[in-house]
Every structure is written in structure tokens, then in C-alpha cells.
Amino acid sequence: MTFGIVVFPGSNCDEDAFHAAKEVFGQDAEYLWHKDTDLKGSDVVILPGGFAHGDYLRTGAMARFSPIMGAVRAFAERGGPVLGICNGFQILLESGLLPGAMLRNKGLQYRCEHVYLRVERTDTPFTSATTAGTVLRIPIGHGEGNYFAPADMLQTIETNRQVVLRYTDPQGRIDDDWNPNGSVNAIAGLCNEARNVVGMMPHPERACEPLLGGVDGRAIFESIVAWGGSAESLALHPVGARAEGARAF
């Protein structure tokens, strides 16, 4: 399958995501410049981490106006899988593709460390190869990852079972001491109602090789690669449409 990695001015985890997709998992990968307007036949789109547009105004606030986001939105509305990692998650929130907003970390510190995450949902393309309750150890690196939603929105999110990952202790228990940023309900990852758009603050692309200190991030990539062969994925890309997309590129 083809991974489309969006590159905004200020993205800095784009090459890591590209490397994971191409070198670790042997998939095709394309960079999608933020001024592009087509996804070059991507089967999955990743909004990578970094500081898109310098995080001016608010994190992710300017990136949502980049031309590529129109194509990303249309792709998401067709059911295409979209993963926002860290700054990419913030962009999905500002774009309204996911509900809620990010605040400064509760302790005001930039937190750069490994955290433990409990998988809550396996009915998304990015967690389908995992099992609920699995605890993943994946690094974070952010100053604004304090997820917030007003009470009624939070209620809807929980009722719809949209929380994909929560910060926990190493045994998978929710504990304020193991919540690195103060996120409400320990939310580390979230999906939309249709479940094809996922945002997460931790960086799975930084945890795919033993050399980097852990391989738990592989679960996210293995899930989407497995999804790539599914009936749902094939339905999204009828053979004719695929060939046309390839010619356009």
C-alpha cells in the first residue's frame, strides 16, 4: 500500500514516518507537500509530528488552511484512513476532523519520554492488529498534549467509544501519576465516529526498531498494513480509480 506523508513547513517527523513505512514495513511512501492538492494515490495519509507553520496562533491552527487539507478532508469523508501523530493530532483537532482541543501540558513542561498506553479500541484501521487492553510503551515529545473536551462533548466521545488509547501505568491502570500532560480521561488517542480518522500524541514511528529503544509502535503500522489488504480498503479504491490515480501522478 502507499503511505502519503504530508509535509508542512515545520513538520519534523515526516522523514521518520516515511522511514518506518518504507524501510521497516516495506511499503510504498510518498511525501505530500502542503501546497499539493492531490494525494498521489495514497491508501493511507499520515499527518506527522513537528511544528507546522511554526505552531503560530495555536498548534495546528494554520495548517488546517493548507491546500492539501482539502484533499485530506475529502479522503477522510470517503472513509480513507488518516493518522495524525502529535502535531498531526493537533491539526486534526483544529480542522474539526476530530473533536476537542489541546491545551498546554498541565505542568507546563515539554515532556519527552516513554509513556504507557492502553489500547481501548481495535475497530480502527490503526489498531486492528492489536487486542484491547494491550499496553504499549511508546515515546512522546510535546508541550501541548493536554487533551480537552467540554463535558457534553466528552460524554459523546465516551458513549461512542472513540477513545483509542489512554495513558496508564505499566500494568494498564489509569493513574494521574502516569498521565504526562493532564489529558482529560487520560486520553492519548482518539478516533472520529466513522473510526477511520485517528489522532494520537505518542510517536509510533519512533518505536519501530530495537535500536530506537522499543518496537511497540509497530502495532500501529502492522494494523494499517493488514487493513490495506481488507475488503474495506479495496472497496475504497476500485481498480479503475486506482489506475486513473496512478496516471495522474
Binding site: 482541543a101 491545551l103 501540558n105 498541565k106 473536551a149
Partner: protein, 79 residues
């Protein structure tokens, strides 16, 4: 006309920066400062000369871009 837009976190949203500033002021002896809320301030130079139109335009810009309605509210002054 000039519109001034003040954006702050909603009262229901915890403001860790404001709290930290308040604590710093308390440690300096300013016990009379009960609380601090940090926000953003924007000056918009507008072509219109009609106050109501200026206010309407500033509100539209604040709704769409300057403030995130999930966490922030805003106040507008025009002159």
C-alpha cells in the same frame, strides 16, 4: 477602523500559565492578585468606517481563526 480582539481560555478551562503567573505574583507579595488568566490580543486594521460592520467582521474572523471555540472565548472593541 481598528478592531481589538481579546481571546482568553473559557472560565471552565484550566489555564496552567495563568495559574503559574498568579503563583509567581503571590511569591512576590502580591497577595491581592487573586487570579490571572493569560490570553491573546489582536489588532485588526479594517477598511470599513461603520462600527457595526467592523464588529461583525472582527467577530467572523475571531470565530473562524483567532479563537478556538472549544476552549476559548473572545471580546471585541472597535474604534
Amino acid at each position: 477602523m481598528r478592531a481589538r480582539v481579546f481571546v482568553t481560555l473559557k472560565p471552565s478551562v484550566f489555564d496552567p500559565q495563568g495559574r503559574t503567573i498568579a503563583e509567581a505574583l503571590h511569591s512576590l507579595g502580591y497577595q491581592n492578585v487573586e487570579d490571572v488568566r493569560q490570553g491573546k490580543y489582536f489588532e485588526l486594521d479594517l477598511q470599513t468606517t461603520e462600527p457595526s460592520a467592523a464588529k461583525k467582521l472582527a467577530a467572523e474572523v475571531a470565530d473562524r481563526v483567532l479563537a478556538n471555540p472549544v476552549i476559548e472565548s473572545y471580546r471585541i472593541e472597535v474604534d
